[in-house]
Assembly symmetry: C2
Homo-oligomer: 334 residues x 2
């Protein structure tokens, strides 16, 4: 196979000149450029990506870290990133870390070795350790569906507190006043606590009776977590007519458990979810939920990282707007 050396020799120029031409840099005549490109074609030389990576600074590749592959939530966001990246000829490589962050440093090292131009960090807390590593090697980073309170890293996300506020207010506007919440982990500063705060705020602002026992938390945001938390909630508060679930998977867990307990939804109990995953259309009844525009969020993060790579500047945070998608799991009452 032809090498850059063969090209330089045949075209009678230095290797450095071939490399400058390949990387669209200055310092050669148009005549030389033509000769080199012709030689490249004659010899069938294909610049090796790795070797090219050593010469230029760009690999036209970005890395995306997602915390747990089983989560349905990341799919659309990655699609959005890919939409933007592919338009600019950039490839996306996805690395699945584990939800406990165990593989995260390992994959950061890998992405650095593979010389990605930038990294999008999805749905995971950016630890100091990660930030220091990325900062040291000057790799642009964007947080998607996450945020950092203390580090200067831009993010794209929904305002979870406000979205939870609106979900709760929606139930109140449908006439409900006996409302409980099945929440995710309270220790989760990204998606746990803010949604609880939004729920409380809406209850207080609308002078709906609120007590701590009206909020039951799961370990995470799964179907099983939702089902178990709901069972506790409804035993303690059989008077409830509506429940706000902190995720669609939790809402489906509630619907499933309610079905087993012969609680009709929405006849006897209304349920609103959070996320608007594909499964929210598949449930019986179809789920009313808060839509996070996942695809658009992915696209925004893609644009943000491309922008950082191209200009070296740090963009503003992007708060994308949520909306309530009305289906059939919430009933208006008087």
């Amino acid at each position: 196979m032809a090498t850059i050396k063969d090209v330089a020799k045949k075209a009678n120029v230095s290797i450095a000149t071939v490399s400058r031409i390949l990387n669209h840099k200055e310092g050669y005549t148009e005549e030389t450029r033509k000769k080199v490109l012709q030689t490249i074609e004659e010899l069938g030389y294909h610049p090796n990506g790795v070797a090219r990576g050593l010469i230029s600074k760009r690999t036209n590749t970005i890395g995306v870290l997602v915390p747990s592959i089983s989560s349905m939530i990341v799919s659309e966001m990655v699609s959005g990133i890919e939409n933007v990246a592919h338009q600019t000829g950039t490839s996306v490589i996805v690395c699945h870390t584990e939800s406990n962050g165990k593989k995260t440093m390992q994959y950061l090292h890998l992405l650095k070795e593979k010389q990605v131009d930038g990294i999008i960090f999805t749905s995971e807390i950016l630890k100091n350790e990660y930030y220091e590593f990325l900062n040291k090697f000057n790799i642009p980073v964007v947080l998607l569906s996450s945020e950092s309170i203390n580090l200067p890293v831009p993010h794209v996300k929904v305002d979870d507190r406000l979205a939870a506020y609106h979900a709760t207010e929606y139930l109140i506007k449908q006439g409900h006043s006996k409302i409980g919440m099945v929440s995710g982990n309270r220790q989760d500063m990204i998606a746990g606590l803010p949604r609880i705060e939004g729920f409380k705020m809406a209850m207080e602002m609308n002078q709906v009776p609120l007590s701590e026992s009206l909020i039951v938390s799961g370990r995470g945001f799964s179907f099983k977590d939702g089902s178990e938390a709901f069972e506790k909630l409804i035993s303690a508060h059989p008077e409830l007519t509506a429940v706000f679930a902190a995720s669609d998977e939790m809402a489906l867990g509630i619907i499933s458990k309610a079905h087993k307990m012969n609680i009709d939804i929405p006849g006897r109990l209304s349920v609103i979810g959070y996320d608007n995953l594909a499964i929210s259309e598949m449930s019986i009844p179809p789920l009313t939920t808060v839509a996070q525009p996942m695809l658009k969020m992915g696209e925004s993060a893609g644009e943000m990282i491309m922008n950082m790579i191209n200009t070296g500047t740090v963009p503003e945070n992007c708060i994308v707007s949520h909306k309530i998608v009305e289906r059939e799991s919430v009933k208006k009452i008087n």
Copy 2:
């Protein structure tokens, strides 16, 4: 930052020697090795992964191509691959092609540039074009949940024909004799046609009346495809007491449509799915389905590719066994 040149100079050896030592090759004394390793530590030299890739042949990275990120089916398989890979210190990078194969060649080029040690091709047909590319560069490849009739590439999959046979036979054993099928695309040689053939075979072997109109195909295997195909099927054959769906998503589409048409499941109509995705537990009623052991399939493919990378041999195909998972969507009748 220190380079390999700095290390060679300071240790008073050639660059080639440093490289041989770093790559655990022969051709130096123990004394030289110690000196070089000590120098590396003194200078704080970190072999750049890309440069190392140029020298050694291994990057300890494998690539996984998956056809469409929105499919829930690939998640567990990728987890299985990761389980095996991580145990051997190998990282996994995932590339999402589109279901039409549009991005496939682009990602094959990328993975070659990134010098992955091997590639696992998931749920997609291996076109001649792909095979020739991989073969030319001598990259080991394994097909997961796919197969090639004419190319010498090993695969890991369930026997779709047999699994469909068993699903249908299960309905017959529960007393059903008016059975229809909602199938995926007939043109799909991997998951479309074989499942139809298995269905037909079971009907014929058990002397259950069969006509072509008892099989309605969707464009793909989605919720919507299932829902639409079922509507056609049940209008043409209102006498049916059971339906075999070629995917869990299709089965959920059937259940949802049946609910709207006031057809009780399983009281009036039994439904069996195919895949055993997480959503099969979430439906009402929970779905009886054919389980493909996705995690185990991923692990087998991971073991297969590691084996090919390490030994250079081509392993035997691996047919993993399916089983029927009984939940609540099929009723025994007399």
